[in-house]
Amino acid sequence: MIRALASLIRRDLKLGVRAGGSLGTAFVFFLAIAMVVPFAVGPDLDVLARIGGGMIWVAALLSSLLGLDRIFGADAEDGGLDLLLLAPLPLEAVVAAKGIAHWLITGLSIALAVPLFGILLGLNATTVAAAAVLLLIGTPAITSFGLIGAALAVALPRSGMLTAVLILPFTIPVLIFGSAATQSIAAGEYFGTPVKLLLAVALFSFVIGPVAAAAALRIGRET
C-alpha cells in the first residue's frame, strides 16, 4: 500500500513538474502580490514593515487556492478518477497522497518564496523567518481544506472559482492565527497562543480534509 501511494505522489509530482504542469504558478502568483503591494500602499518602509506579515499570509492563502480544482478535475476528465476509486486502497489514503503531492508543488514553493517576498517588501529577517516556518504549518492546512472543495466540485466543469469560494471560510482561521503569530514574533511579543491555535487548526484539517474529500468523491461519482 505504501508503494502504491508513493507511486501516486511521484506521478502527481511528475505531472506538476512537466510541461503543462502547475509548478511555479503559485510561486509566481505569490511573488506577484509582493510586487504590486508597494505600488498600492506606497513605498513607505514603516507601513510595509507593519503590514508585511499579514500580506504574506493573504498572498499565501490566495496563491494556495490556485489550481485546487485540478487536484481531482484532471483525473475526472481523463477517466483516471474511476480507476483511483476502484484501486484496492482506502480512498482516504489516495486523497491524502494527492493532497501531499499538491502541497509539495504549491505550498512548499510558497514557503520557499518567502525570503524573496521579504526582500521585495523590505521586511526584516525575523518576520521572514517566522512567516516561512509558520507557512510550513499553514499551507498544508489550506491544501487539506482545499481537498474538500476540490472533491465537491469535481462533478462540475470549470469549477475553479467554486472551489475557491467553498473553502475560503474554512481557511480564515489559518489566516487569523498564522498572521497573528507572525506579527507577534516580529514584534517580539508572546506568540505561544496563536502558534498553538494554528497547529490545532492544521491538525484538525489533516483529519477532516481527506475523510470529507473521500466522502464527497464517493457521492459525486454515484450520481
Partner: protein
C-alpha cells in the same frame, strides 16, 4: 470465483433503464451486453464495478473481493498526456499492487512497445485505447468489465482484443463486455438491453 446479480435495477434521470435484471457468471464465462445508445450498458457495468449504487437487487461476489479482483475499462482511457506510455502503465501496475513483471509483455501484446518512451499526448485515440487495454494484461485480475472496448480500435487491434479476452477466459477469468457493434467474442451469455419504455416517479 462466481458473480451473481439478482433483480438489479437502475433508474437514471427518472427513467428505469432496466428492472429486475438477473444473471450469474462463473470462471471462463463471458457476458455480452448489447443494446442501443442510452440503453444502460455503461450504467450496468458501473453498478457491477461499484461506481454506481444499485437501485434494487444485489450483486454477490463469491470467492474473492471485488476491489481485489476487478478490472474496469470505461470510455475514457485514463492516459496522462505528460507521462510516457511506459510510465502510464507502470503507475497503474503500482497502484493496483502488481509487480509490473508482465508490463513488457503487455506492451508488446498491444503493439505499444515501440511507443513506450513517447508521451501520452502524441498517441492517437486507438493507441490510447490499446494502452488502457494493456492494463488488463499487465495486472492479473479475475473479472474484466469492458465498456465498448473495441471503440477506436483498428482491425488488428480488435483481433488482439479478442485474443486477450480468449486467453483470459482460458485461464479461468470472467468478462462482461458491452458492445453496440458486432464484436465476435463468443459469449456464453448475452443480455440485450432495450429502449426504456416506462417512466417512474423520480
Amino acid at each position: 470465483m462466481r458473480l451473481t446479480a439478482s433483480g438489479i435495477s437502475c433508474v437514471r434521470g427518472g427513467r428505469a433503464l432496466y428492472d429486475g435484471l438477473s444473471f450469474s457468471l462463473s470462471n471462463g464465462e463471458l457476458l455480452l451486453l448489447t443494446g442501443p445508445n442510452g440503453s444502460g450498458k455503461t450504467s450496468l457495468l458501473r453498478q457491477i464495478a461499484g461506481l454506481l449504487p444499485l437501485d434494487a437487487g444485489s450483486i454477490v461476489f463469491e470467492g474473492g473481493e471485488r476491489s481485489e479482483e476487478t478490472h474496469f475499462v470505461g470510455h475514457a482511457s485514463a492516459v496522462k498526456d505528460a507521462l510516457t506510455v511506459s510510465e502510464n502503465l507502470s503507475f497503474w501496475c503500482d497502484l493496483y499492487g502488481s509487480s509490473g513483471a508482465l508490463k513488457g509483455a503487455a506492451l508488446s501484446k498491444l503493439r505499444l512497445a515501440p511507443l513506450a518512451p513517447l508521451p501520452g499526448r502524441v498517441l492517437s485515440a486507438g493507441q490510447k485505447r490499446r494502452l488502457a487495454l494493456a492494463r488488463l494484461v499487465a495486472i492479473r485480475r479475475t473479472l474484466w468489465l469492458l465498456d465498448e472496448p473495441d471503440a477506436a480500435l483498428d482491425a488488428e487491434g480488435r483481433a488482439t482484443l479478442l485474443e486477450i479476452i480468449a486467453g483470459h477466459r482460458a485461464r479461468g477469468g470472467m468478462a462482461i463486455v458491452s458492445s453496440h457493434t458486432t464484436l465476435n467474442v463468443a459469449p456464453s451469455q448475452a443480455i440485450a438491453l432495450g429502449e426504456s419504455k416506462e417512466t417512474v416517479a423520480a
